[in-house]
Symmetry: D2
Subunit: 343 residues, 4 copies
């Protein structure tokens, strides 16, 4: 049986990535694609790499007949997404939202990090946080799933079992992230130009200002039952896909490794490397896999946990599809087992 | 039914690409992997991006029991391949060879371009040239198929229908190729280092010295029934995958476009763009697709034909799998319909 | 003695490159910098790599007192430049214009390629074409020098002596250019984003539509005394700086090499490589040098001439400074002998 | 007056960088270049970007007449350098050594980090640590100066004034470095190939195993008068030049910024950015400048100090030339004021 899928915001990178993944998914077919400013165009014009596919023409959201749709991915900008979901989509439609709009359960936290009141407060409570490996059962039953931030996902894969297991100091956690440029989307900014971004590296959103900290705060505090605040500094690196999270923690490195290995032993997408080995974003590109490595330090009682994933796949559209599989009663891994692209 | 596959030379890029593709192929399973110098190692050590797969340990070729194998891919170095195939492999084994060893049917031409006598002259005659779209029927019946050169494939996709159709001047064909670095394999050379190759471009094998010219000569002369010699200059460009062939021809641009569009109208992997549009290697990366565009020039009677593909996929391992599908009686496109990776 | 310099349009790449070069020039000092939309800002805010320099604050053009200026570089957008020069700048001011506005001497040709009537027809005649090595004496006496197109410069370095010497067929010249992205300036376009441009290559302005063809037509026809039309196709390559011009010509390769070697034997910035060697853009990056190589082809009577330079330096701002040196009576090479940056 | 310079090990990246810098240095001339395995070749063959220079032919070290040399740069591999300096060079020759051989004053520390006994123990004591800004006077009087590690230099620029000023917690310092690939030299390793290094990022020498920690230990302990051990994890990033050191410290961010601003207020090559701004390796490429930024964190009492420089220039050959200037009685900045190359 084939489920009919709509993708709103199909002209951005996460929209295109959803199309790429669904193109070879055996149980899903794309029934509608929206892109407000590019309505009327074919996907082959917006993303020529998809020209071999027989896809519906891009339309505006209100042109879509949702009665025919089994599940809708919203790959819309932040803030737009909550408005569309609140006002334009049927209240019974299964939705995976890839924006930041439903990640934070607390309206105050939402307002603090995003600067505005939420336009769909009731749904904010209904939404399930979409980190599949930790919210699997709730996601399977959910109507609305909120895709996580890509940085937030990477950091949580490294840290959640450690916080839950009580094996690290909760007051001294530093995440230094190396982030690929596609995370910034298809936005026209000088610092994203090839001439300015290639061949160099720099930090941004330094000092605790990145919005994904809202997710870390919410999730880590919920796990530990106390307030946990981490340091998190992202760095722009000249790569298109990939996040490498280098996480500095205090605890016993062997215990940390054992805790992660145990926590993820049955996970189809998470690979914990042998102790002392380190992952690379090269080795997860284009796939839904996460690689995690643990190393001790010469200073006793410290460890370095490194997690790598592809921000557009496991960090965003792949995660969304993994969640959609659960919501539709399909095998969680369906259409997601493609190997990384290397070199 | 699952066919058992062996890959010889699994520690190189084309070997790894075969594993990537077969990993999600519904009808093939990998039964043996060889890598002489790395025998005893796991693929996860040689190519960590494949660590999620349950693969056989790397062995030497003579450790493989070929009685159990339905088809063998040889991703060995040139010259080694002919020796292995002649001496070590069963004479009844279906083989797709990715080396240059069986591409040239004429022993003299082989010697001219490769500098040595061929070690398996009898098989040289038996081998079918592996450009699937043009040798489909022979390949389906073949025991030994010779994968084409990646540059040779790209140029032929642009030119074969034009030569066959008699719509271009055969004495004035110039191919200017922009080639991704993975085409050079995993070889340790100064000019392939990131520090030396990134951020710049240069030509190599200039003036008619590149070995893939042997394939152009053989094929174009066979099609036209006369000697055809093209000019061909490859350029190294800082991209890992991809070949862009800019082909300068003399003929009527509209007729050239119509000829290509007609020739490829039923091909699942070849997309001829609307007249005046140009392809990009970005839009074929990681896929088995070929994009071809035709533009006229301000000088009447001239046209520019541009073809783009991924050298490791359609130019090599994807083509090999497409041929294997035919040889095993499977659907030609099986396991090969993944969309390109963009960005 | 120090000459006072103004740079109009200092917030673009060619403006910044002029500042970089003049920073260590012994006889020039920067007295004024304009950038209309960024007036009031410091250069360190617009280009932090220049923060160590003590530079004037950015102003609007009408805030500059030109009575104090010895020479003015106009690094303004096309069309704006002619208006500014015609209306705002003193008629006696020495000007090196880096825009396209004064490159074409024939008003009709200008209108054909640029689509509008020229706003400063009288000056169009006065301007000297700024290809220093070929207009040296005129430039030294000129008040207004028109910097050449960067692609146009590269192609002319390869071809001018060959056309002048009558050693190639004038009816069959093909220029295939590989162009670095900084040539597009600091413009916000999707195809210039790192995510879209890196890791791939494509042609643009195919078929004789690139405006620099106007310069080729003008110059090559003037040299040969007849109409000469070349084919020219630029390709975007993931490198920030550099143009590699692969030029396909018909003629005797040895004679072609000898002609170029002879023509440039005394030129400080032009290196003709030994016969059979090929240049690389890696080897001219950040410098004012041009490297030229000649190779024969297996097809008799054909040759490949390849020229490499840095589009922002020799192709634009370095050329402009070389011309300014002449116009100010300084040594032509002053401040321009820095070696290329490699790796 | 012109001083005569020899460069030993001229066929590596730091050797070529020395030639690049000296090429436009007004008071130095290159009298001898050695490269054992490439003796007899011209520099233009080894590094074609230097082909415009009139340089001596590469020779073996014993072919050089050092009586004629005023100062010698040793850009030889580690361990080779100490042997050459001890056995082949005159005891009175001024030497700037770019290897690791004379950085550690304590023979035991040397043995711990480098694994072998030192071959020139007496000179190890004589050598002055070459971090110019902090050893200026000693360097001016020294015969033998030991160039610092490039990572070690970057970290020290961020931390020395803070440790000296007592404004940070000495027991909780974490350095997360993003390192350009030229730091690995011209070595032929799979992970340095363009195909494997571009488009991704990974950590290496994790957990306190990188040799530059020996320099941090030595210097930071000397400044503070107690043992100081930092955490330091380098990451390979797809850029050719540049080191970005993100340093996590505990202390008052404003005080930290003031301390750095004050310490470097008169330094010609060190730019401390306004509080809250962050540097980028893009903005130091090809230059001898260091950019340093300080930001506070949302967690009180923590700060992030980020330093950026070019590993081949300020991190190695530029530093070496800065030291040579002092040793020869020249202006420290002579030949080193070129602006960074951007884009």
């Amino acid at each position: 049986m084939t489920h009919k899928i709509a993708i709103l915001g199909a002209s951005g990178y996460t929209g295109a990535e959803l199309v790429r993944l669904i193109a070879t998914h055996p149980s899903l077919s794309i029934a509608a694609l929206s892109a407000d400013r590019k309505a009327g165009m074919e996907m082959a014009e917006v993303f020529p790499h998809l020209r071999h596919l027989d896809l519906p023409t891009l339309v505006t959201i209100d042109e879509i007949d949702f009665s025919d749709i089994d599940l809708c991915f919203c790959a819309l900008p932040h803030k737009t997404s909550q408005e569309v979901i609140a006002k334009l989509l049927p209240k019974t439609l299964k939705i995976v939202d890839l924006s930041a709009d439903f990640r934070l359960r607390d309206p105050e936290a939402y307002k603090t990090w995003y600067g505005n009141d939420h336009a769909a407060l009731d749904m904010q409570g209904e939404a399930v946080y979409g980190l599949t490996e930790f919210y699997r059962d709730d996601i399977a039953k959910a109507r609305l799933v909120a895709g996580t931030g890509c940085n937030a996902a990477t950091g949580q894969f490294a840290l959640r079992p450690l916080i839950a297991g009580g094996v690290i100091d909760l007051d001294d956690i530093i995440l230094d992230l190396k982030v690929g440029v596609s995370g910034a989307g298809r936005s026209l900014k000088e610092n994203l130009l090839h001439a300015e971004l290639s061949e160099g590296s720099n930090a941004y959103a330094i000092g605790g200002t990145h919005r994904h900290l809202g997710e870390f705060d919410q999730e880590f505090s919920a796990i530990s039952g106390r307030s946990v605040k981490v340091q998190f500094t992202p760095h722009l690196v000249p790569m298109n896909r990939g996040i490498l999270a280098t996480v500095y923690v205090k605890g016993d490195a062997a215990e940390i490794h054992a805790t992660l290995a145990e926590a993820y032993s049955d996970e189809p997408f998470i690979e914990v490397l042998p102790f002392g080995q380190a992952p690379s974003t090269h080795e997860t590109r284009g796939s839904n896999f996460v690689h995690i490595g643990v190393t001790g330090d010469r200073i006793e009682g410290r460890a370095i946990v490194i997690a790598a994933l592809d921000n557009l796949t496991k960090g965003s559209s792949g995660q969304a599809l993994q969640n959609a599989n659960l919501m539709l009663g399909l095998e969680e891994t369906e259409g997601l087992m493609m190997a990384p692209l290397f070199p």
